[in-house]
Symmetry: C2
Subunit: 235 residues, 2 copies
Amino acid sequence: MEPPRALLFDVFGTCVDWRSSVARELRALGGRLGLGAVDWPALADAWRGLYQPQMDTVRRGERPWVNLDVLHREALDRVLDDAGLQAVPEAERAELTFAWHRLDPWPDTVEGLARLGRRFLVAPCSNGHIALLVNLSRWAGLRWDAVLGAEIAHAYKPQPAVYLAAVEALGLEPGQVTMVAAHGGDLAAAAGCGLRTAFVPRPAEHGPGGTADPPEQPVDLVADDLLHLARLLGA
Amino acid sequence: MEPPRALLFDVFGTCVDWRSSVARELRALGGRLGLGAVDWPALADAWRGLYQPQMDTVRRGERPWVNLDVLHREALDRVLDDAGLQAVPEAERAELTFAWHRLDPWPDTVEGLARLGRRFLVAPCSNGHIALLVNLSRWAGLRWDAVLGAEIAHAYKPQPAVYLAAVEALGLEPGQVTMVAAHGGDLAAAAGCGLRTAFVPRPAEHGPGGTADPPEQPVDLVADDLLHLARLLGA
């Protein structure tokens, strides 16, 4: 079988550890405002917990496509209300929304992606918008050939338009492209569009002692991390 | 004055020497097919000469937006006809269209862009589509934070939508972004959208002994090349 020409990457959870990073920013906020004892990782989880339901409102066509800065800010206001943290001022909320532009990579991500990028075209195929991914990639040290994903399709994964727009933007056919993700649903949707698939488990995504989100269907590759994926692909 | 947050670059002519590169590919074709004495740089000029008139058909709304592979191929067929080279077979024409994905950088481009990219967000704002720019950037060694330009706007410079879509994709305001180009018309259009402007003359774009295409309006910066621009911007 011919090697792929390009690799598309899920980012939140697959390339970066959103939970620790967002909890860190929430904790710093708590320190600045003297908010006392709050379970910051749980607050990060609650914030992320609104992510899929919010994107569903776009997926169902109930609202026009808006980017994750808009969705993250709406969700933050709800989560702070629910946690009794109504006192957090507007300027802090605005800044905190950009916590999602400053997510740390997993330990293998930077070197793994750099190796893969020497051999293959690499691009994110994320629900994050271009500005978020540009800032996050600078922060985390991720280098891409292009920034693809939800914004160029004006849709949200797992809607097929997102994968197909990314493949088309690279001038390739779906079978020439491998989707790399830590989430079974993402890989199933990519496979449904004709892409190849590589599963990289990230059991720590939701915290220590967690479990991976494995694919329910066969995938083309399973790798322990991005360095392992690079070895499997000869990169 | 605050420094810019991002630099947007014209690519054809400003970052890469399309004329020499395309002439080289045409000359190689001539060798393969035994076409004899042809003025290959003049053929490259004729090919490029159809570029603006073709994009005009899109700009005027006479056809839906199509990418440069489509426009370059249409133009190639006309240019070969006009040159009496009807014998060039289909497979060669298809491959030759991708000559525009393999353009060499000017001598200062790779290092200049790398330096600028360490300090500022950098992205192409080119009439080239994403796949063309991804391939060209690999070929030439150009590294970007994102690939912006005509494709995400479905318009062609100097239409304002192209500059504005690029600025918006970076999550910035026009005044935070500098357009870098070798062409006065490109800079005038960017300035009309509120962007800052940097002129980099490329007098050799149309061949030895040529002259630059200077701006008719004042620009914010004039640099001899991208290394000089990096020095002017403290990068």
